[in-house]
């Protein structure tokens, strides 16, 4: 099979750079990286002939000479942190700069007892935590696509976090990923591992920003393990440069009685692919997956989600909504699989798309794969436009057509955002989404 130019470039780059990556001298780490690059060579980066990528083409980035940067280059230039704050949010913060954890800008000293923090870099250099390396190794072996193999091959840094049993973190933890303004073609491969032991509770904000409209790539894996009765609320806010490529995948495993809530908010990037792979492996586990994506310009947003019900009496509820303008395109893939033993599963899935422009496109693939009989499963998908009746109703109350459209579009988005319990995050996102929508030329033209 012919290798894409980007795949070839990255393989060559690995040969050049792998000697300088953290833990390069460690035989285990080096072997893991070698297997990963071999896997990438074998499967390549995804092509549209792969069923899982049939609507998402990465060819626009084929010629970009993506390149990771050394940690020493990732030192902060001039950065106005105040402008990056989520207003009135009291939180712990870990900053990841161009793919490297920046201890200087993180509030590591404040982290409470019972929250065990480490950097993947230290793990790789010390080989102390073979479990984490095993996770990278396993992922390589099972890599669903080349980006995962790529991530293991270039694995350098990330947050390795463990909440000990019973710890309920008093404030949310924000992992803020920043790509700097001199970062054209920058490649950040990031691996996070978050483990919540029995009964632990965490609000996690996973946020991405770029300091300029550069064409960079973020390739990020987040691995989540929830022990019995653990609770994680996870807010993923992706607002990177409109020229960038963002590939993210969360693999979450849930034990019995645990609860996982994820809000996946996609606002930035030229190409955003976000995968959530949820595995419910204990009775009475519950997961909620909520998503909101807003496409403008030529943005391409692909949400690819899988929920596997592997144990009985678990429930999942998935609801993704998207607003598409200009020439943007959204893809939604949602699969619910119910294994034979997973009786009494309650699994539901919805995807709704609003097309605002004649050049926008939505492709949606909600799927049910069910092998147990005593289950309640449903899915639904809609693609449509603003209801003429609703617009008329608002106009009859004296609003202009443009105002009516704005109100209805915001209301469409708010149905997801209103479910966010953390008030500062909710308000921040409502504002951010409003800006994106108002900045939208079609709405402006109509005004």
């Amino acid at each position: 099979m012919r290798q894409s130019p980007l795949t070839g470039h990255l393989i060559g780059l690995h040969e050049e750079l792998s000697g300088g990556l953290p833990g390069a001298q460690d035989a285990t780490v080096a072997a893991m990286r070698q297997r990963a690059i071999a896997r990438l060579t074998e499967i390549g980066l995804p092509k549209i002939t792969d069923e899982a990528w049939r609507y998402t083409n990465i060819r626009a980035f084929d010629k970009v000479a993506f390149r990771p940067t050394a940690e020493s280059n990732a030192a902060l230039t001039k950065l106005d942190f105040a402008a990056l704050e989520i207003p009135s949010l009291n939180r712990y913060r870990i900053v990841v700069l161009d793919g490297w954890v920046s201890e200087a800008h993180s509030t590591l000293d404040e982290l409470p007892e019972g929250l065990v923090f480490n950097r993947l870099k230290n793990v790789l250099e010390g080989s102390a935590d073979s479990e984490t390396i095993q996770i990278l190794e396993d992922r390589t072996a099972r890599a669903g696509h080349g980006f995962e193999a790529l991530n293991s091959a270039f694995a350098a840094d990330g947050v390795v976090l463990r909440l000990e049993a019973g710890l309920e973190l008093d404030k949310p933890l924000e992992i803020l990923h920043i790509t700097q303004n001199d970062a054209n073609s920058r490649l950040a491969n990031i691996n996070h591992c978050i483990t919540l032991e029995k009964g632990a509770k965490l609000n996690l904000i996973e946020r991405y920003v770029s300091m300029a409209d550069t064409r960079h790539m973020t390739n990020v894996s987040i691995r989540i393990d929830l022990a019995e009765s653990a609770e994680l609320s996870h807010y993923r806010i992706q607002d990177e440069s409109d020229a960038s490529m963002h590939i993210g995948y969360a693999n979450a495993r849930q034990n019995s009685d645990s609860c996982y809530r994820i809000f996946s908010i996609s606002l930035g990037s030229l190409l955003d692919r976000h995968e959530v792979r949820q595995s419910l492996e204990g009775a009475d586990a519950h997961c909620e997956m909520k998503g909101l994506y807003i496409g403008r310009g030529k943005q391409h947003i692909d949400n690819y989600t899988t929920v596997v019900h592997a144990s009985p009496d678990a429930s999942s509820d998935e609801f993704y909504k998207g607003i598409l303008n200009d020439r943007s395109r959204a893809v939604f893939h949602g699969r619910i699989r119910v294994d034979p033993d997973a009786q009494h599963t309650d699994a539901h899935q919805q995807n709704r798309n609003l097309l605002l422009s004649t050049d926008a496109e939505a492709d949606t693939k909600p799927q049910l794969e069910i092998y147990a009989d005593d289950v309640k499963c449903s899915h639904g998908a809609t693609v449509g436009y603003l209801e003429a009746d609703a617009i008329f109703y608002l106009r009859s109350r004296g609003l202009s057509e443009a105002e009516a459209r704005t109100i209805l579009t915001e209301a469409f988005a708010a149905e997801i955002l209103d479910q966010i319990e953390l008030a500062p995050v909710r308000e921040f996102l409502l504002e951010l989404v409003r800006d994106k929508l108002v900045g939208d030329h079609n709405l402006k033209e109509a005004a």
């Binding site: 034979p340 605002l356 492709d363 909600p366 794969e369 998908a381 693609v383 436009y385």
Partner: protein
């Protein structure tokens, strides 16, 4: 579900295949194998004009380069296409019967066993039957009534001889010879089938019906059906399929093409009851079918209704290309899989014209170790302003060893489109069962009633005779049903 319920359900769905018998008639059959010579011989045997032979050869050349598709949610041992015989006809071919009286009594007996006695068909109001025994049409009734209306309803072979211009014009115009692996194979080797032509403005005076039947061992059945409805015409076509019991698997790869011109309507109904294999999953038909209709003109309408209860494997996606403005596509389906049956079926609705609309209602019933998948595509192209689609896919699971899957694909490139898809999966509710039992109904009758209720939206789309047969096929007698 308590054990007695589970048992009753398994009894209900576990009825034996009643159409399993073979008719002992000498056949004129090709030896197994497929190459260009077989294609040429087949064409020659049927005395086809040059354009047909060429068309078949072109299809065969394409097929040789194609791969068997693997994307469907089905598993089967690979088919050896060289071990199949590509032609089988009743021996008396040279001396075709002129009327029913001349038909081999054994054939008639076969039809009697199938419950479609031709002698009685004549008396059945408005149903003409073109019976396909293995591959060659042997009896056609009601020809005169149809001829008076200007309707052409004949075997495909006859159409090639009598109406070559029509065949040349429309054959492959909806399903090109290289459309997919099985369609290409069919195009190369199809033996016979039905041809229907409804002239402009004619409402076909009766429902047209064909029964297909696979009889001889190791013969693949490759029929080809072509229906052309000219401007402002209407036809309702019924297709019933059944096959005798065999231990080994038999291949059935049919192609159906429908062409509906401006203001025309075609209603195509199928009750498919091919041999599903035994309780261990041995034998059964591989039913790999390509069905597609084109709404060529404005306001055209094509409606597919199918009840799929047979076959070891069903692979079929009756589709509609909505080319004309305001054209309408419909797909109503019931698919039941039991024992080791696998079904991967659904539809494609491609919206091309403005104000086009489509409706998809799919009901899947899975029992035993059956696997039932709905796979559908709704594609709204850029020019299809104000296109509408509504899809509803419901699955009913009976027992904990079966599977029900839903794989819709929705692609929308026009912002004025409105597409809605809903799907649910559940089993028969305990409350519904208890309610019926409290009214004195046995468990089995209660289950039958609820399953029939589940499928009702589809059954009501079938012509009366077929609806009754379909309900019977689900193992249910709706004796004295009112309303």
């Amino acid at each position: 579900m308590n054990t007695s319920t589970a048992q009753d359900i398994s009894e209900f769905v576990g009825r034996e295949y009643k159409e399993g018998f073979t008719t002992d008639i000498e056949s004129d059959t090709f030896p197994p194998g497929l190459d260009e010579d077989v294609v040429i011989a087949l064409s020659k045997k049927k005395n086809e004009p040059r354009f047909m032979t060429d068309w078949r050869l072109k299809a065969f050349a394409r097929w040789k380069k194609m791969q068997e598709p693997v994307w469907a949610h089905v598993n089967y041992t690979p088919i050896d296409y060289q071990s199949i015989s590509y032609y089988s006809a009743p021996k008396s071919d040279a001396d075709r019967p002129k009327s029913l009286d001349e038909v081999d009594p054994k054939l008639l007996e076969t039809y009697e066993k199938l419950g479609i006695p031709l002698s009685e068909q004549k008396m059945l109001a408005g149903v003409a039957v073109d019976a396909v025994f293995d591959s060659v049409s042997v009896a056609t009734t009601f020809k005169k009534t149809l001829a008076d209306a200007g309707v052409i309803f004949c075997s495909f072979s006859e159409a090639v001889q009598e109406y070559p211009e029509l065949v040349k014009k429309y054959l492959g115009s909806v399903v090109p010879s290289g459309d997919n692996f099985f369609a290409a194979l069919n195009s190369a080797v199809f033996s016979d089938g039905s041809f229907v032509y409804i002239p402009k403005g004619v409402r076909c005076p009766m429902e047209l019906s064909t029964y297909f039947r696979i009889n001889a061992m190791n013969t693949g059945q490759f029929e080809r059906t072509l229906i052309v409805a000219e401007e402002g015409s209407y036809v309702s076509y019924l297709e019933g399929c059944t096959a005798p019991m065999r231990d080994e698997n038999q291949l059935h790869a049919a192609v159906v093409e429908l062409v509906a011109m401006k203001d025309a309507e075609i209603k195509y109904s199928t009750v498919q009851n091919w041999y599903p294999g035994d309780e261990e999953g041995r034998g059964g038909i591989y039913n790999f079918v390509t069905k597609r209709g084109a709404c060529r003109g404005d306001n055209a309408k094509i409606s597919w209704t199918q009840v799929e209860t047979g076959s070891a494997i069903t692979w079929k996606y009756p589709s509609v290309m909505l080319e004309g403005d305001r054209s309408i596509g419909e797909f109503y389906s019931v698919a039941l899989t039991n024992n080791y049956q696998q079904a991967d079926t659904g539809t494609k609705m491609v919206h091309i014209g403005k104000d086009t609309s489509s409706t998809i209602i799919s009901k899947g019933v899975s029992a035993g170790k059956g696997q039932n998948s709905y796979r559908g595509l709704v594609r709204i192209l850029k020019g299809a302003a104000n296109a509408r689609n509504y899809s509803q896919c419901d699955s009913l699971l009976m027992g904990d060893k079966c599977g029900a899957h839903t794989f819709p694909y929705i692609e929308v490139k026009n912002p004025s489109a409105k597409v809605e898809h809903e799907a649910t999966t559940s089993r028969i509710s305990e409350d519904q069962l208890f309610y019926c039992k409290q009214r004195g109904l046995s468990e089995e009758d209660s289950v039958s009633m609820i399953v029939n209720g589940f499928c009702k939206e589809v059954f009501k789309e079938l012509p009366m005779e077929f609806a009754v047969e379909a309900q019977k096929l689900l193992g249910i007698s709706l004796e004295g049903a009112v309303g």
